[in-house]
C-alpha cells in the first residue's frame, strides 16, 4: 500500500516537473535579450542564474564575490529595473542579460524565466541559482574556489549542494546604516542568530524544511508556521530536465533534495549570507507591500511589511557577531562533512 502511494506520488511529481518545464518554455517569450554573451560559455564553466529588480546597490559586491569564487558567467533576468541596474549589468563582460516587464509573481517569482535559461544554457554545467541578496559561502571558500567544490561533489557522486539562508543584520535600525555600492555588506550586517533554527523533513519532496533565525524571532514569534523558509539548494549540476519547485527551496526530481545525511553523519554544506537587511529594506518593504509581487499568500504578509517599515532594531544581546566560515562550521550552521 505504502509503495503504491509512493509510486503514485512519484508519477504525479514527474508530471508536475514536466508541467513546470513546459511553462518555462512558454514564458521564454517574455524575455528580451539585452546583452547575450552566452557564446563565450565553455564546457565545464560554472554558471550563475539570477533574477533582479532594482539591485544596483547590491550587485557590485554580489558579482565580485561570486566572480572571486569562480563563477565564469552570470545569466541575469532584469525585471523592469529603473535604478540603472540594467545598464550597469549590460556593461559587465561576464554577464548575459535579458529583460522582461512581465509579472514576477506569475513567473513563479522569476523561476520560470531562469528555468528557460537553464534549459538553454545550463545543461551539463554546475549552476548556481541565487538572488542578488544572497552571498554563498562554504567551508574553505577562501582557499578552495567553486571548481574545487564542484569537483569534490562530482567525486562524491552528488548532483546538488545545500546552503541555508542566514539572515544577517546590523546593530541598530537597518535603515540607519550607511552602505555604498561595492562595500562589504558584512561590515554593518555583522550579526546573526546562531541557534534558533528548527528543522523538519518534508516527506513529499524529501527535503529538509529549515525555519527560524532573526525573522522568525522578531516578526513571526506569534505565528511560526508563517516564518520564512531558509533551506536552499542553490548549486546543482544541471540537466535540462531539472526544475526548481518553489524558489530554490525545492527541486525536481526530488532525489536532488537529499542534500543532507540521514544516516548519522554530516554532509558538506554551505550558507547563503542573506543581505536583505541593508538600509534599503525599509523603502523596499514599502514598495513590495504595494506591488504584492512577493509571496504566495501576500495578504498574510502585510503585518510583516508593516513591521519592517517601522525599521526595528533586530539586534539582541544574544546575537552572534560574524567572523567567518569556520565560526559557522563550529556553530553547526554548515558542515565540512569529510572535506578537510
Amino acid at each position: 500500500m505504502e509503495t503504491a502511494r509512493e509510486l503514485w506520488l512519484a508519477y504525479r511529481l514527474r508530471w508536475k516537473r514536466r508541467r513546470l518545464l513546459a511553462r518555462a518554455v512558454r514564458k521564454r517569450r517574455q524575455l528580451r535579450a539585452v546583452a547575450d554573451r552566452t557564446g563565450a560559455i565553455q564546457p565545464g564553466d560554472i554558471l550563475a542564474f539570477v533574477a533582479v529588480r532594482n539591485e544596483a546597490l547590491q550587485l557590485p559586491h554580489f558579482l565580485d564575490h561570486h566572480r572571486g569564487l569562480g563563477v565564469d558567467h552570470f545569466l541575469v533576468v532584469d525585471n523592469d529595473s529603473d535604478d540603472g541596474t540594467r545598464a550597469w549589468l549590460a556593461d559587465q563582460a561576464d554577464v548575459s542579460l535579458w529583460r522582461t516587464g512581465h509579472s514576477y509573481k506569475r513567473a513563479r517569482f522569476g523561476v520560470d524565466w531562469l528555468t528557460w535559461l537553464q534549459i538553454r544554457h545550463g545543461h551539463g554545467h554546475w549552476c548556481l541559482t541565487l538572488d542578488a541578496d544572497e552571498i554563498l559561502i562554504y567551508p574553505h571558500h577562501e582557499t578552495r574556489p567553486l571548481p574545487a567544490l564542484t569537483e569534490r561533489l562530482d567525486r562524491e557522486g552528488r548532483e546538488s549542494f545545500g546552503a541555508m539562508m542566514l539572515d544577517m543584520y546590523p546593530q541598530g535600525p537597518p535603515g540607519a546604516q550607511p552602505y555604498a555600492a561595492g562595500d562589504d555588506p558584512f561590515e554593518t550586517l555583522a550579526w546573526f542568530d546562531a541557534g534558533n533554527h528548527f528543522i523538519e523533513v518534508q516527506p513529499r519532496l524529501r527535503n529538509l524544511w529549515v525555519r527560524g533565525g532573526v525573522r522568525a524571532r522578531v516578526f513571526f514569534a506569534d505565528r511560526p508556521r508563517r516564518a520564512p523558509t531558509l533551506n536552499k539548494i542553490p548549486l546543482v549540476r544541471w540537466n535540462r530536465r531539472y526544475v526548481y519547485n518553489t524558489s530554490t527551496h525545492q527541486i525536481l526530481p526530488r532525489r536532488l533534495n537529499a542534500v543532507y545525511d540521514a544516516e548519522g553523519g554530516e554532509s558538506l554544506s554551505g550558507v547563503l549570507l542573506h543581505t536583505k537587511f541593508l538600509n534599503t529594506i525599509v523603502a523596499r518593504s514599502r514598495e513590495e507591500k504595494t506591488r504584492r509581487e512577493h509571496f504566495e499568500v501576500a495578504d498574510s504578509y502585510q503585518a510583516y511589511y508593516d513591521a519592517l517599515m517601522a525599521d526595528p532594531d533586530l539586534w539582541c544581546p544574544a546575537s552572534t557577531r560574524y567572523t567567518g566560515w569556520r565560526q559557522l562550521e563550529a556553530l553547526g550552521l554548515m558542515s565540512r562533512g569529510g572535506w578537510v
Binding site: H140, E142, T143, R144, P145, P147, A148, E151, R152, E156, G162, A163, M164, D193, A194, G195, N196, H197, F198, I199, E200, V201, L208, V210, R211, G212, V214, A216, R217, F220, A221, D222, P224, R225, A227, N231, V259, Y260, D261, A262, E263, G264, G265, E266, S267, L268, S269, C316, A318, S319, T320, G332, L333, M334, S335, R336, G337, G338, W339, V340
Partner: protein
C-alpha cells in the same frame, strides 16, 4: 659517483602541472620517464611531449589505455620502468609518482635520504589479512576470483561475475608460491629489486595471474617485492590518504603548513588549482628539514577527523546537512541536562539553591504554556533562542536540542510538570543525556496553596494527575535510557535531603559534607486538602499517603521552619 634517483610519472590530466613537476624532478638531476594515458588525445599528448622536449632527462614511454582497478596501470608502470632502467643505467632508486603528486620537500633531501639507504625498498606491503581498506567489500577475493570487467564502467557485470564465482566456489591459485600482499601503489624501489621483478623467469606466469586480479597496481609490485627485495620498509614515501569511501583525499592551498610540517617527501593528490602549494614547494631551497624523518601523523589525524565527521555527526547537532533518521543519531542532545519534576512546587527557592550549589544553569518551566521560563527571567538566551511559546511549540524537539547545543559546556536544568507541554516525554526519557528526577503529586501543592476550594480545583487536579500518570508510564517503561528517579511526594516530604542529594549528584555537584537545604513549602493543612479532594470524588493517589483529618490533629511531616543542615552519617 653516487647512484641517481629515477622517477616514473603516470599522467592522464592537468598537463601543465605535470610539466612543472617533471621539470622540478629533472632540475634536481633525476631522469623522468613519463607515461601518458592512451585515452589522452594524440594532439594533447604531442603538445605535452613537445613542451618538455628541451629537457634531455625527460623521456616518454610506450602508452597504455589506463583504467582504474585494472592491469593496464601495472603494464604502464612496467613499460616505463623498463625504459627508465635501460636508458639510465646509473639510476639507483626508482620513484613511482603520478602527475598529481607533488614533491613537498627539496628533491636533494630525498636523494640524500635514499643514498643513505641504498639497499632499502620503500613499498607498503602487507598480507591481505592485515589490511583494512576494502573498496567494494573485497579482500582476499581480489586474488582468488577473476575480474575481467571494469568496476567503474561495467558495475553490473562486475558484481554478477563476482557473485557467480562465489557460488561455484572459485579459487584461483597464486602462481609460483607467491604470498599475496597489498599496499599503496606509490612506491620507491631499488634498481635491483625492480629489475629482478621485471626479469623474473616466471614473469609471464605472474603477469597472467595478476591480469585478472582486482586493483593489481596495489598488489603486483607489493607481492613480488616480497620475493626479491633485500630490505623492505613497508611504508610509502608518498603521503596519500583515502576517505571512508576509498577515494583519495585532495590537498589544497590551505594545507600548506600541514604539508610542510609533515616533512614527507611527496604528497598526493594535489588539486591542480592549488597555486600556492605548487609555487611554494617547487621553489623551496634545500636545507630546511635536512635529514629529518617523514612524519605524516598530523596529516593522518586531520583526515581521520574528517572521515569521522562525515560518518558520525557531532552529537546533539541537528542541522541542514545532518538530520539523522530516527534511531540513527549519534545522540539526540549534545550534553547532559537535568529535568526536575515537581521540585519547584515543593521546595522554596530550589532554583537559586541549585544554581548556587552546582554551578548549573537552572531554568524554570521551559515548556510552560505561557512562555519558556529561562533562568533569571531572560527572554532570549544563547543562540538567540527566545522564550516565545509559539516558536518553541512549532518544534519542541528543536527547541530542546538547540538549547542544549547552544549552551554546551554548562549543565542545563529545568523544571517540569503536568501543566507543561508533554510532547517530548518520550524523547527525553530515551535520551541518555537526560537526568530525570520526579516527585509525583507535587502538582497538588500549587492548587492547595492557591486557597481555592477543593470543589473548584477538583477538575484541574484530576486532569493534572492524569497527565502526570501518563508521563510516569513513560518513565517506568523498559525502553528508557535516561537516568530516572521517581519519588512520591509523601516520600520526599518525609526525607527531603535524600531526594535533593540524588539530584545534586546527578548534576555532577561535588559531594559536600554539610549542605544548607532549601526549605519545604508550608504544607500545613495539605492532608485535609487532599481529603477534601477525595470528598469531591477525586482520587489523588500520586501524592502518596498524607494523614487525613482536620489540620489541627494531623501528624503530617511538619516542615522545619528554618533551613536545616544535613550531615553525612
Amino acid at each position: 659517483m653516487t647512484a641517481r634517483l629515477g622517477v616514473i610519472l603516470l599522467v592522464h590530466t592537468a598537463f601543465d602541472r605535470a610539466e612543472q613537476v617533471a621539470r622540478h624532478w629533472a632540475r634536481a638531476g633525476c631522469p623522468v620517464v613519463i607515461h601518458v594515458d592512451r585515452a589522452v588525445p594524440r594532439a594533447r599528448h604531442d603538445a605535452f611531449a613537445r613542451a618538455l622536449s628541451d629537457e634531455a632527462r625527460i623521456v616518454f614511454s610506450r602508452r597504455f589505455r589506463c583504467e582504474w582497478g585494472t592491469w593496464s596501470l601495472v603494464a604502464a608502470t612496467q613499460a616505463a620502468a623498463e625504459t627508465l632502467l635501460s636508458r639510465f643505467p646509473d639510476v639507483g632508486h626508482v620513484y613511482l609518482a603520478s602527475g598529481a603528486c607533488l614533491p613537498i620537500r627539496p628533491v636533494e633531501e630525498l636523494i640524500d635520504y635514499l643514498a643513505a639507504r641504498p639497499e632499502t625498498d620503500f613499498i607498503e606491503s602487507a598480507t591481505t589479512a592485515e589490511v583494512p581498506w576494502t573498496v567494494g567489500g573485497l579482500h582476499e577475493e581480489r586474488f582468488t576470483l577473476a575480474f575481467p570487467f571494469a568496476w567503474k564502467r561495467q558495475r553490473r557485470l562486475f558484481d554478477a561475475y563476482v557473485e557467480l564465482q562465489r557460488r561455484i566456489g572459485r579459487r584461483r591459485e597464486m602462481p609460483d608460491g607467491l604470498v599475496p600482499h597489498m599496499g599503496s601503489q606509490w612506491w620507491c624501489l631499488t634498481r635491483e629489486t625492480l629489475a629482478a621483478i621485471l626479469r623474473d623467469p616466471n614473469r609471464a606466469a605472474h603477469d597472467r595471474f595478476f591480469r585478472r586480479v582486482w586493483i593489481p597496481d596495489e598488489s603486483y609490485f607489493q607481492t613480488l617485492a616480497r620475493r626479491h627485495a633485500r630490505r623492505i620498509e613497508s611504508r610509502s614515501l608518498t603521503v596519500s590518504k583515502f576517505d571512508y569511501q576509498g577515494r583519495p583525499h585532495i590537498f589544497y592551498d590551505d594545507h600548506l603548513t600541514l604539508l610542510r610540517r609533515s616533512r614527507c617527501f611527496v604528497a598526493r593528490k594535489i588539486w591542480p588549482g592549488a597555486d600556492r602549494l605548487y609555487d611554494a614547494f617547487l621553489t623551496e631551497a634545500a636545507g630546511r628539514a635536512g635529514r629529518a624523518e617523514p612524519d605524516p601523523a598530523r596529516i593522518d589525524r586531520l583526515f581521520a577527523k574528517g572521515a569521522e565527521r562525515r560518518t558520525r555527526a557531532r552529537p546533539g547537532l541537528w542541522m541542514q546537512s545532518s538530520f539523522p533518521a530516527e534511531g540513527r543519531e549519534t545522540s539526540v542532545t549534545a550534553a547532559p541536562y537535568t529535568l526536575l519534576h515537581g521540585f519547584a512546587e515543593l521546595f522554596e527557592g530550589v532554583e537559586a539553591w541549585l544554581t548556587a550549589s552546582t554551578g548549573a544553569r537552572v531554568h524554570g518551566h521551559l515548556f510552560a504554556p505561557e512562555r519558556a521560563e529561562f533562568a533569571d527571567g531572560a527572554t532570549v538566551i544563547e543562540g538567540a533562542l527566545t522564550d516565545s511559546a509559539a516558536l518553541r511549540d512549532a518544534n519542541p524537539k528543536a527547541f530542546l536540542t538547540s538549547l542544549i547545543w547552544n549552551t554546551r559546556g554548562r549543565h542545563q536544568c529545568f523544571q517540569f510538570g503536568p501543566r507543561d507541554d508533554q510532547s517530548l516525554n518520550w524523547t527525553i526519557a530515551q535520551d541518555p543525556n537526560a537526568r530525570i528526577a520526579a516527585v509525583t503529586g507535587a502538582w497538588a501543592v500549587p492548587l492547595f496553596r492557591s486557597g481555592r476550594p477543593a470543589a473548584e480545583v477538583r477538575a484541574e487536579a484530576a486532569h493534572l494527575q492524569a497527565v502526570e500518570a501518563d508521563h510516569l508510564k513513560v518513565l517506568r517503561s523498559p525502553w528508557t535510557a535516561a537516568r530516572i528517579r521517581v519519588w512520591s511526594m509523601a516520600e520526599v516530604v518525609a526525607t527531603p535531603a535524600q531526594a535533593l542529594r540524588s539530584v545534586l549528584s546527578d548534576m555532577g555537584a561535588p559531594e559536600a559534607a554539610e549542605l544548607e537545604m532549601p526549605r519545604l513549602v508550608d504544607l500545613e493543612g495539605f492532608g485535609a486538602f487532599l481529603q477534601e479532594l477525595k470528598n469531591q470524588g477525586m482520587h489523588p493517589y500520586l501524592t502518596g499517603d498524607f494523614p487525613t483529618g482536620p489540620a489541627s490533629q494531623r501528624a503530617a511531616p511538619r516542615p522545619p521552619r528554618k533551613p536545616y543542615v544535613v550531615r553525612e552519617p
